[in-house]
Symmetry: C2
Subunit: 259 residues, 2 copies
């Protein structure tokens, strides 16, 4: 199993605080020693940092923790390998271009197999994880049904149906984004918190680190963080139920439901 | 205009020395202030570092210079923007997946327009540079003619013909790789050097830095470096002629010609 981290915000926000907590689970407070990765959208560009090393010992992870990259949308992941060996090609998040956008995907869980809907295999896995295979299959289905770009609301039914399809093969918690929106699907475990004024202090569970968001934010800031398990101990996180999906833009939930 | 850097080696080799020289051209000894990027293949995975900032001032570039990532194949680039604004989405190298491999591309030059061969626009630019548009067009032509993977020798004619086609629209020096091989096309300016035993000392042109490769290499190591202009002042670089193309694998040239 692995740990997911997602962020959607209405102002460019750094994720150093949450990332610092997540990285501890990569070999220190958690067993996820088999690599980590994080993708930050900057406009339509995507800045991707990855390492097949344990995040708690990674020099690149140390850089990311020192270097407050501000973004509207972030997807991060720490990995405990089940399918696929430990190497860069098997390290989340995975990225593909569709409709001239960078699509970024991370998965927590394991699939007995990745069901094929018969769509042409335009996107093919580079590594040998079930996760990347599922991501490619998802994009192949999307491209097959929508050769030209559509609004997220239009493709949502296919997205949700595909996630539900994958979930029948095992566990499929995932985060997906094209940089404009962030989609989350909960198959077994996923939590969320939306922070907005009045902001208060927060304390990480995994490391002795606190922050007072009040000093770092404006009155209209809205920041939603999604994680496999709550990252802070003194805030009220909401746990998703199995089958819950949600779509986020600029920190706000713009659609949700249960598959 | 921009500066290109490529490496092909038969043992995993760090490119810190050459990279240190190239990065100086990003704002210190050269005018290429509009971003930089470098992609290192690790197996089938690709580790990409990019910044729309001047490389001479980039914290990420400083990390890459401290952190000797060893690779068989590397593509790097510093940018002086002509087409497309300065942002991450317009920063080279560009990456796409084709046939389950990560393809990486960097371009030096400028095209009046990117000629379309009528292949379906499967790959679409995320940013607005002529370079990324040319890369997408190249991959669209390849995918259209070869829906399934072929050996580099089989696709070489299409690759060379497409580069020659682009060159008619302006200047098109480029580096392209799928991690297994490295392809270079010279439209106006590109230099190369192949280092093998007996190795000797080398001194960068752009910064006061010398290295004795003899102490860092084995007797069978073969390392080819390609760059827009020679990076060292005391070694014999070979300059490509306009229209020259070459294909490299494990440091050795496996095919070459003139378009």
């Amino acid at each position: 199993m692995c740990e997911l981290l997602g962020m959607s915000a209405n102002v460019p926000t750094d994720i150093v605080f949450s990332f610092s907590g997540l990285m501890q689970r990569g070999g220190r407070t958690g067993p996820h020693r088999d690599g980590w990765g994080v993708g930050f959208y900057e406009g339509r560009g995507l800045r991707l940092f990855q390492d097949p090393q344990a995040s708690a010992e990674s020099e690149v992870a140390a850089l990311v923790q020192r270097y407050p990259i501000k973004s509207h949308t972030v997807i991060g992941h720490v990995r405990q390998a089940n399918v696929g060996k430990v190497c860069l090609a098997n390290t989340h998040p995975f990225v593909r271009e569709l409709w001239g956008r960078n699509w970024c995907f991370a998965h927590n869980g394991q699939l007995a197999q990745v069901p094929r809907a018969g769509a042409p295999a335009f996107y093919r896995p580079v590594g040998d994880t079930d996760s990347e295979a599922a991501f490619c299959e998802l994009l192949n289905r999307l491209r097959n049904l929508f050769p030209e770009p559509v609004e997220p609301e239009v493709m949502l039914p296919l997205l949700v149906e595909s996630c539900a399809d994958f979930r029948r093969q095992g566990v499929f918690n995932c985060l997906l984004s094209d940089g404009d929106w962030l989609f989350a699907f909960c198959s077994s475990k996923l939590a969320r918190i939306t922070r907005r004024a009045p902001f208060g202090p927060a304390t990480l569970c995994d490391i002795d680190l606190s922050v007072n968001f009040d000093s770092q934010t404006g009155p209209d800031d809205v920041v939603t963080v999604l994680a496999t398990e709550p990252l802070t101990g003194n805030e009220a996180w909401t746990l998703f139920e199995a089958g819950d999906w949600s779509l986020w833009r600029l920190g706000e939930c713009i659609a949700q439901g249960r598959a």
